[in-house]
């Protein structure tokens, strides 16, 4: 176990750190804030939307305690979604690569566009693909692979909060609306 002196030294060294130097390190730390605050109890932080949601559940015939639990759980789920959005935005902004390196789809055939719409189930690929697809002979593959893995790991870490939020909501719905 570290002594008090060692702890002080660690603290002092950490304060002098200028942060991550490599591109990968910067990316990792740029999305560290994403999960911050997801564990906070909403009973401490009663926010306006919780009060509104509580009244919606009360109007639906639930007692106050169940109504507030459900409102908090919905709010917690919304915070996980906001964290996921932040993770996406971080990775997209970190992928500001040379446009010459990216694949381009401006000349893509209608068949290709239709096939992509069908495979993905929507138009989202038009936003995502240009950030992650590289044209042949690009030197960026290794870097983009690393960035993608870092992003997916970050999303996986958020799953913990997601599972907690959704399973809590499920249990509360079953309890409140049991037949």
């Amino acid at each position: 176990m570290a002594t008090e002196k060692q702890k002080q030294a660690n603290k002092s060294n950490a304060q002098q750190s200028s942060g991550p130097q490599s591109e990968q390190g910067k990316l990792r730390s740029s999305i560290n804030a994403v999960s911050h605050g997801l564990n906070k109890s909403m009973t401490i932080l009663i926010q306006p939307e919780v009060t509104v949601l509580q009244s919606l559940f009360e109007d639906d015939g639930l007692p106050s305690d169940q109504a507030i639990e459900l409102a908090e759980a919905h709010s917690a789920r919304a915070r996980v979604r906001a964290a996921r959005k932040q993770a996406w935005e971080s990775i997209l902004s970190s992928q500001e690569m040379d446009p010459d390196e990216r694949g381009r789809f401006s000349e893509a055939s209608p068949e290709f566009l239709a096939e992509m719409d069908q495979t993905v189930g929507g138009k989202e690929w038009q936003t995502i693909l240009p950030y992650f697809f590289l044209k042949p002979f690009s030197n960026e593959k290794e870097r983009v692979d690393e960035v993608t893995i870092t992003f997916l790991d970050k999303q996986r870490r958020l799953n913990r909060y997601d599972v907690k939020a959704v399973s809590t909501l499920s249990k509360l719905y079953k309890k409140a609306y049991k037949t």
Binding site: R81, A108, L134
Partner: protein, 211 residues
């Protein structure tokens, strides 16, 4: 339930559903309800149109239904983003394997055919442009092999991605169950209230007969 067509005003501010004024006001005060979960470059109108379709197919009846349907909508969009990322990973892998294969067989700088074929493929990756097929066949490679190799080389990323797709799909199923639970409860409550009312009427009738 029909939804109001998204107007320009609605597209820039709030998500408009066909609820009564009081319900609409209540939803407007749930800040994250009116926040569209959009990434830079994604279209507001696509988001609203898809949400409207979902609202109609699930037959949203009140604000609580609307909140759950929006949860489903956001999860489904996340699934689509992950599928798009999967396509990008596979195409990136194919593009890389294609570069390696062509480099091994042709001199890229000297051969205009390679430049032309690659430019053609790049516009519609995954497709089989003639010029490229000729080069690949000369080198003894098929597009199927490129795709199979991409699956193999990108396994690490694809496995991580499948975990995410499964997570969001599970969230959709769980949220649908929540809608069902609430609706079944409502139905049961209506039946019980109906039965109680019938009993009450019968009791009153019996008492009148007794008198």
């Amino acid at each position: 339930m029909a939804t109001k067509k998204p107007t320009n005003k609605a597209a820039s501010n709030t998500i408009v559903l066909d609820l009564n004024d009081e319900q609409t006001e209540l939803l407007a005060s749930v800040p994250w309800f009116n926040e569209r979960y959009l990434l830079p470059g994604e279209s507001v109108s696509d988001y609203d149109i898809d949400l409207q379709r979902l609202v109609e197919s699930i037959d949203v009846k009140d604000p609580l239904d609307a909140i759950l349907v929006k949860e489903i909508h956001d999860e489904l969009r996340e699934v689509q983003r992950m599928r798009a990322l999967r396509q990008a990973i596979l195409l990136r892998g194919m593009s890389h394997d294609l570069s390696n294969s062509l480099t091994n067989s042709y001199s890229r700088q000297d051969d205009l055919r390679v430049t032309m074929a690659v430019a053609e493929w790049q516009a519609s990756p995954g497709k089989e442009p003639k010029a490229l097929l000729i080069l690949l066949s000369e080198a003894g490679i098929t597009m199927e092999r490129l795709l199979a190799d991409a699956y193999k080389t990108e396994t690490k990323q694809l496995q991580r991605l499948e975990v995410q797709v499964a997570r969001h799909e599970k969230n959709v199923r769980e949220t649908l169950k929540m809608i069902d639970i609430r609706r079944n409860h409502k139905l049961m409550r209506q039946r019980i209230e109906f039965d109680l009312e019938q009993d009450r009427q019968k009791l009153i009738a019996d008492q009148s007969d007794g008198d």
